[in-house]
C-alpha cells in the first residue's frame, strides 16, 4: 500500500478521461472577492469503520476540500481473524469451515478453491459427478452474489428499492444452497475429495425455477439501475480504472474485465470442469455509455456475468452424470512434500491459494490471495479529485467484502 502523500488528481496515463470534477475555488481568490483574508483548511474525515457504505468495517481516512476528496487512505484489519495461521495449525480437513468465512457472500467458491489446492497437493482424483455438483453450486453462488452486489450498489447510489428486489431472488438462491448444505451463508459442503451431499431431482427442478426467475427479473433490475438516467449520470465516467492501472494494481474479476482486459480464470486457466462449458466472457465494450473502466461498466459486467452463469448452470444440470460424489480418502490425510498454487475465479475476482506441505497432517504454509484486498487498494490512486459521492460510487462498484480483505 502506498503512503499517505496525496496522489495527483488526474491519473497520468494517456487516454484517460478525467472524472468530472467541479472547479475548486482557491482560497486567495475567495479572499479577494470578500476583501479580507479567509482562513480555509482541509477537513480530515474518518469514513467508517461504522459507515453505511464501507460494506463492513473498513475505515477510510479522507482529506476533503469541501466535497472534493483530495487524498484518502483505506485502513484495513478490523476484521482480521488469522484465517491463514489457523490453516497452518489445523489438519487439512478442519480448515475448510474457516475458508467460508473469508468471503461470506461466496463461500462455495472459497471452498472450491481450497479443496482444489489440497487435492492437487495430495493427488486426489475427484469423482465426475462431484465435479459437476461443485460447478453447479459455485455458479449458483455466483449468481446470488452478483445480483446481491447489483442491488447493494443501488443502495450506495441512493436507490433503495432495487436492493430489496434483488434480495428477493438472491434469497431463493441461498435457499437452494441451504437445502444442500443446511446453512444460508456458510456451507462447508464442498469437501476434500468431492462434495458432502448430492443433488436430488427435486433440487434440480427448483434450481431451474430459480434460474428462470432471475432471468425474468434481470430486465427489471436494469430498468431501475442500468437504464436509469440518474444512475448513468452517477456512474458514467466516474472512477475510471484503465486496463493498465487495473493490471498494475492487481485488480481482478468483474472490475478487471470492466477495464477492458479480457481475462477470466474459468476460461483462460480452467480448473474443475470449466473447460467443458465454453461461455462468453463479458468484457466492457467501448460502445456503452460512459468510459471503459468506469463504475457503469463494472455494474454492466456483473449483469452480463449473471446471464453467462445461468447458461453454464443450465447446461451442467442437463449433463449431470450419475455416480459417486466422494473419493475414497484415508482417515488421516498426509499429502507428500511439495507446494501448490491454485487460483479460482471468485465473484469478486481471482482467489488464489498457495499451500506448502512438509508431509505432515497440517500444512506448513497456507496462503490466500484475496481479490477484494487487491481491489480496494486501487482507490488510493483513482479516488483523489473526485467528490465524496463518487468515492462511495467507486467503492461500491468494486464490490469488496471486508471479511476477505482482512481474512
Amino acid at each position: 500500500m502506498s503512503g499517505s502523500e496525496p496522489v495527483p488528481a488526474v491519473p497520468a496515463v494517456p487516454g484517460v478521461v478525467a472524472p468530472a470534477t467541479p472547479p475548486v475555488v482557491d482560497a486567495s481568490e475567495l479572499s479577494s472577492l470578500v476583501g479580507q483574508s479567509l482562513r480555509t483548511e482541509e477537513l480530515v474525515v474518518n469514513m467508517g469503520p461504522q459507515h453505511p457504505s464501507t460494506h463492513g468495517v473498513l475505515r477510510v481516512v479522507i482529506k476533503t476540500d469541501g466535497e472534493v476528496v483530495t487524498a484518502l487512505q483505506p485502513h484495513i484489519g478490523n476484521l482480521h481473524r488469522c484465517a491463514e495461521k489457523i490453516g497452518e495449525s489445523l489438519p487439512y480437513y478442519q480448515w475448510l469451515p474457516y475458508v467460508d468465512r473469508m468471503d461470506y457472500l461466496a463461500a462455495i467458491n472459497n471452498e472450491h478453491g481450497a479443496c482444489l489446492a489440497i487435492e492437487r497437493l495430495g493427488g486426489i482424483v475427484v469423482p465426475e459427478r462431484a465435479e459437476y455438483v461443485r460447478l453447479i453450486l459455485a455458479e449458483v453462488q455466483r449468481v446470488a452474489s452478483h445480483i446481491f452486489a447489483m442491488g447493494v450498489y443501488g443502495l450506495d447510489i441512493g436507490a433503495i428499492t432495487p436492493f430489496l428486489h434483488t434480495f428477493r431472488e438472491r434469497e431463493r438462491g441461498l435457499d437452494l444452497l441451504d437445502h444442500i448444505a443446511g446453512g444460508r451463508l456458510l456451507y462447508h459442503v464442498v469437501r476434500i475429495g468431492g462434495v458432502k451431499r448430492d443433488l436430488s431431482p427435486e433440487w434440480i427442478d427448483e434450481c431451474h425455477a430459480f434460474l428462470d426467475a432471475v432471468e425474468r427479473r434481470l430486465p427489471e433490475y436494469n430498468a431501475l439501475l442500468l437504464d436509469n438516467h440518474i444512475f448513468q449520470e452517477r456512474t458514467c465516467g466516474i472512477g475510471v480504472i484503465t486496463g493498465k492501472q487495473a493490471v498494475a494494481w492487481g485488480v481482478t474479476g468483474p472490475a478487471l474485465r470492466a477495464s477492458g482486459v479480457d481475462w477470466d480464470c474459468r476460461r483462460d486457466a480452467p480448473y474443475g470442469i470449466y473447460d467443458r462449458f465454453p461461455f462468453e466472457v463479458p468484457v466492457a465494450p467501448s460502445g456503452l455509455a460512459g468510459t471503459v473502466g468506469d463504475c457503469f461498466h463494472r455494474h454492466w459486467v456483473r449483469f452480463k456475468e449473471v446471464e453467462q452463469s445461468i447458461s453454464i448452470v443450465r447446461r451442467a444440470l442437463r449433463a449431470l452424470p450419475p455416480g459417486e460424489i466422494m473419493a475414497k480418502l484415508p482417515k488421516t490425510f498426509k499429502p507428500p512434500k511439495g507446494e501448490v498454487f491454485v487460483r479460482v475465479e471468485n465473484p469478486r475476482g481471482e482467489l488464489a491459494y498457495y499451500a506448502v506441505s512438509e508431509g505432515a497432517e497440517k500444512p506448513w504454509r497456507m496462503r490466500c490471495r484475496g481479490p477484494s484486498f487487491s481491489n480496494i487498494a486501487v482507490v488510493t490512486e483513482i479516488a483523489p479529485g473526485t467528490l465524496i459521492a463518487d468515492l462511495v460510487a467507486l467503492m461500491g462498484s468494486l464490490d469488496i467484502v471486508l471479511g476477505e480483505v482482512d481474512r
Partner: protein, 356 residues
C-alpha cells in the same frame, strides 16, 4: 380570527367579563394548537403512507400492526422516540443544539397559518399569502445551519453545507414558478387564486396558460429539491453522509426533524394543489365553498394533496440520488432559466390579453 372572537364575546355574557386581550390570546393559542394538532397528525399519517407504499413497492408489507392497517404506527414511533435517551454530544454547542429542531419545525408550521384548507378555512387569510408561505419556509434553513454547526460533527457540517446551498438555490425557481400563477391571477392571496379556478377542470391554472403548465412541473420539481426529497436528498444522503445534519440527534429532537420534514411535504403538496390544480374545486361546476359543502371541499383538497404526496413517495423509492454538483447544475442551468421564461411568458400574456 378577530371578527370570529368578537362575535363569540358578544354572544356570551360570561366572556364579556373577561378582558378582551385575554380572550384574543386564548383564542389564538387554541387555534394554533388545533392547527398544530392537525399538521402533526397529517405528518404522522404521511409517514405511515410512505412506509406502506414503499413496502408495496419493495415486495414487503410495511407497518400493519398498530391500529387498523397500521394507521396509528406514528403514535407508537413517537412514544418509542420519547422514551429514548436524549443524547447531546459533549462537544456540541448545547443551547443552539437544543433549540435547532424547534426552529426547523416552526418554519414549516408557521407556513400553515396562511394556507387555506377549504373556502374560508384559513387561520389568517393574508392578502400576500403566497409570499408569506414561501418566505417563512426559508426559516427552516436557519434551524438546519444551527443543527449542523452545533453538532460539532464533520458529517453534520458536510450535510449542512449541502442543505444550505441546495435549499437556498432551489427557492429561486420555486418562487419564480409560483409567481407565474400570481402574475396571471393578479393576486397573492391563496383563497383568491383558488376562487379563480372554479368551474370546469380547464379553469385550473395548470391548464390555462403554457406558462403555468410549465410552471407546474418546475414548481413540483423545485419543491422536491427544497424539501430534500429523493432524488435530491443529498443533505441527509445516508450512504454518503451517514445522516447529514441530524447525524447527532436522537430521541424526540430527531422526531421533531422528522415531523418537520413530513409537514413540509404536506405543505408543498397542498400548495401545488392550491396554486395549479384548483384547490378545493372538484373540476366540475359544483359549489364546494359554502355551508357543509366546505367539508367536501376540504376532502377534495386533501385528496389532491395525497395524490401529489404519492408522486413524491413514488419518485423517492424508484430513483437513485443525484450528485451534489448535478443538483446545482439542474437548479441554475435548467430550472431557473425555464422558470424565468415561464414568468416572462405569463407577463406577456397579461400584457397582451389583459389577464383574461
Amino acid at each position: 380570527m378577530k371578527e370570529l372572537l368578537d362575535r363569540l364575546v358578544e354572544g356570551s355574557s360570561l366572556l364579556q367579563a373577561v378582558p378582551r386581550g385575554l380572550v384574543y390570546t386564548t383564542g389564538i393559542l387554541l387555534a394554533c394548537s388545533g392547527v398544530l394538532l392537525l399538521v402533526s397528525l397529517f405528518a404522522g399519517e404521511i409517514v405511515w403512507m410512505e412506509r406502506r407504499i414503499s413496502g408495496r413497492m419493495q415486495a414487503r408489507i410495511g407497518p400493519n400492526r398498530v391500529g387498523p392497517q397500521g394507521l396509528l404506527q406514528f403514535l407508537a414511533d413517537g412514544v418509542k422516540l420519547l422514551a429514548k435517551e436524549d443524547v447531546i454530544p459533549s462537544s456540541a454547542d448545547r443551547g443552539v443544539f437544543v433549540i435547532a429542531p424547534y426552529i426547523v419545525f416552526a418554519g414549516v408550521f408557521a407556513a400553515f397559518a396562511a394556507v387555506p384548507l377549504g373556502a374560508g378555512l384559513v387561520p389568517a387569510d393574508l392578502p400576500f399569502g403566497l409570499f408569506y408561505v414561501l418566505a417563512i419556509t426559508s426559516v427552516e434553513v436557519v434551524g438546519v445551519i444551527m443543527a449542523g454547526w452545533a453538532s460539532n460533527s464533520k458529517w453534520s457540517i458536510l450535510g449542512t453545507m449541502r442543505e444550505v446551498a441546495q435549499v437556498i438555490s432551489y427557492e429561486m425557481p420555486l418562487a419564480i414558478s409560483a409567481l407565474t400563477v400570481a402574475v396571471l391571477a393578479g393576486t397573492l392571496n391563496l383563497t383568491d387564486i383558488v376562487a379563480q379556478q372554479s368551474g370546469w377542470v380547464w379553469n385550473w391554472w395548470v391548464f390555462r396558460s403554457p406558462a403555468t403548465f410549465v410552471g407546474f412541473f418546475l414548481f413540483f420539481t423545485a419543491a422536491l429539491a427544497a424539501l430534500k426529497r429523493a432524488p435530491f436528498d443529498l443533505p441527509e444522503a445516508e450512504s454518503e453522509l451517514v445522516a447529514g445534519f441530524h447525524t447527532e440527534y436522537t430521541g424526540f429532537r430527531f422526531a421533531i426533524f422528522f415531523l418537520a420534514e413530513y409537514a413540509g411535504m404536506f405543505l408543498f403538496a397542498l400548495l401545488t394543489a392550491i396554486l395549479f390544480c384548483g384547490g378545493w374545486h372538484l373540476g366540475v361546476p359544483v359549489d364546494l365553498t359554502s355551508g357543509l359543502a366546505r367539508a367536501a371541499g376540504f376532502l377534495v383538497l386533501f385528496l389532491k394533496a395525497c395524490a401529489f404526496l404519492f408522486v413524491m413517495i413514488w419518485v423517492r423509492w424508484s430513483l437513485p440520488r443525484y450528485r451534489v454538483d448535478k443538483v446545482m447544475y439542474l437548479c441554475y442551468k435548467v430550472l431557473l432559466p425555464w422558470s424565468v421564461v415561464a414568468l416572462v411568458v405569463a407577463a406577456l400574456q397579461v400584457l397582451l390579453t389583459g389577464g383574461r
